[in-house]
Subunit: 137 residues, 2 copies
Amino acid sequence: MNLSKTSKYAFRILVHMAKDEKALYSAQQLHQNIDVPERYLRRLLTDLSKSGFIKSIQGRQGGFIFARDISTITLLQIVESVDGLDSINECILGYDSCAFDYSCPMHDVWAETKMKIIDTLTKTSLKDIHNNRLEDF
Amino acid sequence: MNLSKTSKYAFRILVHMAKDEKALYSAQQLHQNIDVPERYLRRLLTDLSKSGFIKSIQGRQGGFIFARDISTITLLQIVESVDGLDSINECILGYDSCAFDYSCPMHDVWAETKMKIIDTLTKTSLKDIHNNRLEDF
DNA sequence: GTAAAATACTACAAACAAGTAGCATTTAAT
DNA sequence: ATTAAATGCTACTTGTTTGTAGTATTTTAC
Ligand code: SF4
Ligand code: SF4
């Protein structure tokens, strides 16, 4: 259970872009709208392109645009690509590999909550987010 | 949503100690049972003492023992004392102070899950953990 | 009273995450 | 062609968290 700051930045970027799904956004434009250090933002945009969420268009008038339908992009996929799945799925006691044959006392306590987290992240696509609310972002 | 490794270490320590609530545990003993670097474990034990969960008994035959009834120690209190409450409660987009007057689209998506997390951590005491399961730890 | 077994304190070191900088490359407008 | 506006790559710097070391202090056993 560990969302890095970078994952949160990725959320900011993609949720913002999802507001107008078909639009092309330049790094500068994004920087003006969401509070992420400019160079770091750019690097992250490149990473998100490589992960296939968005694609980059180079050159003057270039920028970033979604590479696939935003209803197919879930929050879990985003976290997974930035932090890795372990960050969410890992043992609540921080063991690399579970030290126990049977589950330890903490396991059951956390299991349901962990499921809820994964469930929410899995079921929520970028499209869902803006369907829920139409407020400005 | 960010449990540091140190918080997880704290869980390991206290959940282990809660198995025999009234016993006195030396740092060495704990080190043999849970996989936390020895010197780091000791420092953390001192911190947990200062936070009032356990108390230290110095000198030969010394060690650590719960300072209060384990039914009054919740997981949230432990996280709070190690990482601070913000680590759990913080904005899913990582904004220090919410940038919006009204809630942004992400807020509602996460609100329920966040509540579930806080709820679980608040309602689960060290006693509950071992009441749920009697397995060895 | 001396030694041994424990915790306490504080500074340092290593590892990791976050942020910055410089320069290269691509493309459109002129 | 030239210039400007954009992304791409890679190395460096800074900050935070995690882990280590040395030394001091406390208390019991003998
Ligand atoms: S059983 Fe315990 S140690 Fe193993 S993965 Fe679950 S919480 Fe972690
Ligand atoms: S409304 Fe949005 S930005 Fe504000 S705290 Fe909630 S998730 Fe964060």
